[in-house]
Symmetry: C3
Subunit: 154 residues, 3 copies
């Protein structure tokens, strides 16, 4: 099934992607690889307040998954803006997940599943990707998660 | 020399690679690049207890190197499972090393050498790679290190 | 304009790049992609003392930007050493920025702009890149920042 149709079926309207406010861009293509800049759980141009702070202190597994899902929605929005349609994605190659973690919080993969599950919901088997998930001490805007991606595109 | 023969000569039996327990996969190929998901120092399906905790507190340089080497062995196991034989690796392109570090621990490159040295032991000059090594605050399962890789494959 | 001419116009003499002191290399090419290892704000073979420590404690926005710029200069030096001339760079694809952050320091993108701005100063529009910026707990040599890169090269 078309990824764009699947998005519609899921009732997912991708947001207008955030403009980069500096000398970088949201996504850069080289050959068939599209590198998407690290995305935060933004909504309507601002960090979603429910997605601020540290996992294990300010939010927990389910809240973290929702934050990872929202960041991944922004990844998709940037990819679509760069290539015109998600139907041009031939596979999701890699996700990098950075989780803003309080000391002792180790359930990082659980949180990151919020992003991975979205990719498979939208792209099916083509959405299965390599991924790296780590806990970091600080993120921009005190976001709970940051997600970057590499897509293969036609 | 063949990388598979070199493995045998080194007495290194690669483990049965861990199955990803979520909507991601251990390695994803696009063109001639194979992206391997971040691997932990797992042994027999569980985190090696000697490889748990923070560098500079729970384990130190030599223990960290052993953890990095074990994580890199798992990287090789995943790569072989994905492409059938390590002899199809034409070069190791990049390693990313994330070191679970206690405050004030800066000997991150020393730890990461455990992974880099393994690559050169197995692949010779083709094993020399770009790498990035950083200290992070938390890792899945409280692992001491996490290693990801990009290989060029034929 | 030629990137090499632009460097000269900016009065930027790239340093002799640091030699990797282990089984990794400063940059690895695969096809048209050049992966540059994480670089620190080194000057004359040692970490610049003004670029040591944590953002938000030992140095602040402007000092961090200078550290990011210096690390990015070392990225360029390594790229030139690998491919002979920066004029062979057809685009800057991705920067990864790791910022050594004290608790509560969130102005990570401001710091990272020191690296991004340099790329656009040297390469013009070809210098606009995808990027990921995160705060980490420790870096090699207690450096304030570490920058890695992917370039597309001819």
């Amino acid at each position: 099934m078309s990824a764009e149709k699947k998005l519609a079926e899921l009732g997912l309207a991708l947001p207008t992607p955030a403009t980069a406010l500096a000398n970088y861009i949201p996504a850069a293509r080289s050959g068939s690889l599209l590198f998407v800049s690290g995305q935060l759980p933004m909504r309507d141009g601002a960090l979603d307040p429910a997605c601020r702070g540290k996992l294990g202190a300010d939010l927990f597994n389910e809240g973290g998954q929702a934050a990872a899902r929202l960041a991944a929605i922004n990844v998709l929005a940037q990819a679509r803006a760069a290539i015109g349609s998600l139907d041009r994605v031939t596979r999701v190659v890699r996700l990098g997940g950075f989780i803003n973690s309080a000391p002792g919080f180790h359930a990082l993969p659980v949180v990151m599943n919020g992003a991975s599950d979205l990719m498979v919901a939208v792209f099916g088997d083509k959405g299965r990707h390599a991924r790296t998930t780590v806990g970091v001490s600080e993120l921009p805007l005190d976001a709970a998660v940051e997600i970057e991606a590499v897509f293969e595109v036609a």
